[in-house]
């Protein structure tokens, strides 16, 4: 809901800007996240978006109707339900992508997508753009890239400015911390592995940066590149705030682990769930998540850390 309102807001602004209409026919040259040169003969009209993040980027620019193919994991926006699927659990199909006659494929190197699609598309002659989201800046940059590729530069610029503005507002809110308190130590659990290990947000990812911008700091400062953390390590870190990307039932399940009830965050009821769609899909909704989390942290701080 929020996405559409904001997007439309951005669009409204963009429509007033001169030169907003895309110039059809002029070739567009871009550089994607892997440093690859992407050359489009004209603004992309038939786009295949692999993974929810890329779909949402295109949708946020109001270009939903230009999407001609998605994959099984994309659920948002609801309009994607009727679109042709070009891949999913068992991989991605070059045939299916080509069948949609796209003039742009947007992909993120997760699962086998990049391996299976970048090379074939290049050889067949379909422009393909690889996007990464290692930081919030990169997420914002992706908005610009997609807008350029679709020939809606002005719309993209407007959306970018709106997102940056929201981020600045959150920064102000965070800086005006109640009583100059330090940022609470937070641990965001993003998943659980079969052997009991936990996946947590770690430095160098947009998820972590989102958490930091919302006013927290990482409970395990020395955490390295490895994504997995043992439950004991989480217990030892004893964060002030525990964030769980998922459903409440999952959080309750975690809380039942031996020793976890004594965790500071759980005793003081400062353990909440955050939306996976906001923190694990890099896109405009991430900024919704940052705002929500920042608000909650500020409120909790105002109530005091009893």
């Amino acid at each position: 809901m929020t996405l559409r309102r904001r997007a439309l807001g951005g669009l409204g602004l963009a429509a007033l800007l001169p030169g907003a209409a895309a110039r059809a026919g002029a070739p567009i040259r871009l550089r994607d996240a892997l440093g690859r040169d992407v050359l489009l003969p004209g603004p992309a009209q038939r786009i295949v978006t692999i993974f929810s993040s890329n779909t949402e980027l295109v949708a946020a620019l109001g270009l939903m109707q230009r999407i001609v193919g998605v994959e099984e994991y994309t659920r948002f926006p609801p309009e994607v339900a009727g679109l042709p699927k070009v891949g999913g659990r068992l991989g991605f199909s070059v045939d299916a992508v080509v069948a949609q006659r796209p003039d742009l494929v947007i992909v993120t190197p997760a699962r086998q997508a990049a391996n299976q699609l970048v090379d074939p598309m290049e050889r067949i002659g379909v422009p393909v753009m690889v996007l990464l989201s290692r930081s919030l800046d990169e997420v914002i940059g992706n908005v610009r890239l997609v807008a350029q590729a679709a020939g809606v530069d002005a719309r993209g610029q407007a959306l970018v400015q709106s997102l940056q503005q929201r981020l600045r507002a959150v920064d102000e809110q965070v800086n005006a911390r109640v009583g100059g308190q330090p940022a609470p130590r937070a641990l965001m659990i993003t998943g659980r592995l079969g052997n009991g290990m936990l996946l947590v947000a770690r430095p160098g990812t947009y998820t972590n940066e989102a958490m930091l911008r919302a006013g927290a700091r990482h409970a395990i400062p020395g955490i390295g590149a490895l994504a997995q953390v043992s439950p004991e390590a989480a217990l030892a870190a004893d964060p002030d705030v525990l964030l769980f990307a998922g459903a409440q039932s999952g959080l309750d399940d975690l809380a039942r682990r031996p020793g976890w009830r004594d965790m500071r965050a759980l005793r003081a009821q400062r353990a909440i769930t955050v939306a996976r769609a906001e923190f694990l899909i890099p896109g405009p909704r991430t900024f919704d998540g940052i705002e929500t989390l920042a608000r909650w942290i500020t409120q909790t701080q105002q109530k005091g850390w009893g």
Binding site: L90, G91, S93, V94, A96, R111, Q112, D119, R123, A227
Partner: protein
């Protein structure tokens, strides 16, 4: 019963038909006329799909199948066992480990050539290790190598499992490794295909030199020796060459199951037990099987592609059972 020239022509014709079928197959089936169009002019997206993507893929499948069949025949000849297959001496474990490293460890090198290179190095390296272990243990004969191979496979599997657990996170799932391990043709460029074809022909020629030795080995070590075969020198040489062939197959096609086991049997059923014919016949049978299986893999479950190894394994299971049931029959060797 030496196969006549006519039989070979028929078989090659069948392979050509399979290749055409393969190029037509996919989520959107192509008509043979479109193939001709794709060869002569490439102005539509569809023609480019056929020319740049499907054709090299199908021809690569044929080559990989030929290599698998060839190495299967060599291994069955060396180990004198109709259940021997080319992954016995650690090639699969090593290749899977190499592929896992290429896929999961961020080395910053382009994966299009890193993956086949690591798979090849893994397969080849593991076999050399196995032979080395067998030699150090003073057991450079068939059973010694098999034992060393079993031990090596266990070790490599453990290392690979550890890597998979340690390096997986939300974005890089284990699926990436699984789908390679289950087998699938990496579509080469036309120049890459040229190399693969050259390698296949070279392997065909090189393995022919093993034909007499493999025949003699089938008479038993003592008789082979008394008929003039230096068994102690021949066996490692044959194993090394067979492993080179399977490493090449695995580099381009992942771990495709059962073809190395089944193709030599099909070959022996068709041309008899002399290796001079079994080796090329096995290559032909392997090429046929993999080409058809790849066509099925690409068309049966849109929009996904079923991993090639699953198709061959599913088809291979019943074949295996039939083989066991016919164990004591002629042409298949003795139990």
């Amino acid at each position: 019963m030496n196969p006549s020239g006519k039989m070979w022509c028929l078989a090659l014709g069948a392979l050509a038909l399979a290749v055409v079928l393969g190029i037509c197959a996919g989520h959107q089936w192509a008509a043979p006329a479109e193939i001709w169009q794709a060869i002569t002019e490439r102005d539509t997206l569809r023609s480019r799909l056929l020319w740049e993507w499907r054709m090299p893929r199908v021809l690569a499948a044929a080559c990989v199948g030929a290599l698998l069949g060839l190495s299967g025949a060599v291994f069955q000849g060396v180990f004198r066992n109709p259940l021997a297959e080319p992954y016995l001496l650690g090639a699969s474990g090593g290749a899977a480990l190499g592929a896992t490293i290429a896929l999961l460890v961020p080395l910053g090198l382009p994966q299009s050539w890193l993956l086949p290179l690591m798979a090849f190095a893994g397969a080849w390296g593991a076999t050399i290790l196995v032979l080395g272990v067998a030699r150090v243990a003073g057991a450079l004969d068939a059973s010694g190598m098999l034992l060393a191979g079993v031990a090596m496979a266990a070790m490599l599997g453990a290392i690979r499992s550890f890597l998979m657990l340690a390096l997986s996170d939300e974005t890089v799932s284990l699926q990436v490794v699984m789908s390679w391990v289950l087998g699938g043709i990496q579509t080469p460029t036309w120049s890459g295909l040229g190399w693969l074809a050259l390698i296949t022909l070279a392997c065909l020629a090189a393995t022919q030199t093993l034909a007499r030795g493999l025949d003699l080995l089938g008479l038993g070590d003592a008789t082979a020796q008394s008929f003039g075969l230096d068994v102690a020198r021949f066996v490692p040489r044959a194993v090394l060459l067979g492993s080179l062939v399977v490493a090449a197959a695995v580099a381009y096609g992942g771990l495709v199951a059962f073809v190395g086991l089944a193709a030599p049997h099909i070959a022996r059923w068709w041309v008899g037990p002399r290796h001079r014919w079994v080796l090329p016949a096995s290559a032909l049978a392997g090429a046929l099987v993999v080409t058809v299986a790849d066509a099925i893999a690409r068309s049966v479950l849109p929009p996904a592609e079923v991993p090639l190894g699953l198709i061959t394994a599913v088809a291979g299971g019943p074949f295996f059972i039939v083989l066991l049931a016919r164990r004591l029959r002629a042409y298949g060797g003795r139990a």
